[in-house]
């Protein structure tokens, strides 16, 4: 019998979707491993998730304080060795603050929190979140954030686009990217980006809230399947 991939989920003070990420890992057949922000220990996991929430209340800037947590040293080392790292929502914000992903996330264009099911289009299969998915595929997942507007300086944005670091974009049901479906006003409707190596990925939508068919659409399933497969490939 093959080993189940061990997927760590870090709890920072103020993390909220940590239990949900663990539940979804288990739902998709992985082993969920809770990790604590203050410990220098990743407990031999095969992949790590920085979950959604409001770490440190989002005070100062989203993710600004959590990036200095003890566990982040280990995440950095793990990422440098090619380990799969997924940041969801607040986790994405932390990874950007930590410099592990390009860009930054600021207040939504409409200045209001938004909780909504949206469609996202896969832009690149070269990431641990989208391996096995075809470019152009459309997945339905929810967003819930007040500060999810992706921004980057002009030079950075060009590099992100030119190097194909965009993993997901907000789109309509048919995959068309337009302003009406850009739920928070992100530059180029960017919903998720990856590192150059593709092993670090961040996204504002919440795939962990879209795996159980009893609760709604399941656009998160293929993403988790991809993450688990990437993790397994390292075992």
């Amino acid at each position: 019998m093959t080993r189940r991939p061990r997927i760590g989920v870090i709890t920072f003070p103020g993390s909220l979707d940590d239990r949900d990420a663990l539940r979804s890992v288990r739902f998709m057949g992985g082993e969920g491993v809770p990790l604590w922000h203050a410990e220098h220990d990743l407990r031999e996991i095969d992949a790590v998730i920085l979950p959604g929430g409001f770490s440190y209340g989002d005070y100062l800037r989203t993710g600004a304080i959590a990036r200095f947590a003890a566990v982040m040293d280990e995440v950095r080392t793990f990422a440098a060795r090619g380990g799969p790292v997924l940041g969801i929502c607040n986790g994405f914000q932390i990874l950007c603050e930590a410099g592990l992903l390009p860009g930054a996330l600021i207040r939504n264009r409409q200045l209001r929190f938004v909780c909504r099911w949206v469609d996202v289009r896969v832009e690149s299969s070269r990431s641990v979140l989208t391996e096995g998915l075809a470019s152009g595929e459309v997945l339905r997942v929810p967003v819930k954030h007040g500060e999810g507007q992706f921004v980057a300086g002009a030079g950075d944005l060009r590099r992100i686009e030119d190097e194909g670091l965009v993993v997901l974009r907000y789109c309509g049901r048919d995959g068309a990217v337009d302003d009406a479906h850009n739920v928070n006003g992100s530059l180029d409707a960017i919903a998720g980006v990856r590192s150059e190596g593709g092993n670090v990925v961040g996204l504002m939508p919440h795939p962990e809230h879209a795996v159980d068919p009893d609760l709604g659409p399941t656009g998160g399933q293929p993403m988790f399947a991809s993450l688990l497969a990437s993790a397994l490939a390292r075992v």
Binding site: I106, Q110, V151, D156, G185
Partner: protein, 93 residues
């Protein structure tokens, strides 16, 4: 020595500032049609215990660079690092 420090953090010029835009949109409706280029930033104040002012400034600079601002989107300016003789709340007996 204790120093009172203050740092301003601002969005880099050119980056969209949704809060600034909202304020700019609201002011004309209230009669101020002469306003433009509203930008919203942060003002951070704190005390630092340090050997001398040069040390304090250097520390504040590092704090501003590493934590108080995000270089991807923000710039910062140290507004003041001034010797402080009074008692702060933390000093209470």
């Amino acid at each position: 020595m204790k120093f009172h420090c203050s740092v301003d953090v601002r969005l880099k010029p050119g980056l969209l500032d949704p809060q600034g835009k909202a304020i700019e949109g609201a002011l004309p409706a209230m009669g101020w049609t002469n306003v433009s280029d509203v930008r919203v930033g942060k003002h951070v104040e704190f005390y630092v215990e340090a050997r001398d002012q040069t040390t304090a400034v250097a520390q504040v600079h590092e704090m501003a660079e590493r934590l108080l601002s995000n270089p991807v989107i923000e710039t910062f300016a140290i507004r003041g690092v001034e010797a402080f003789a009074g008692l702060t709340f933390e000093d209470r007996p």
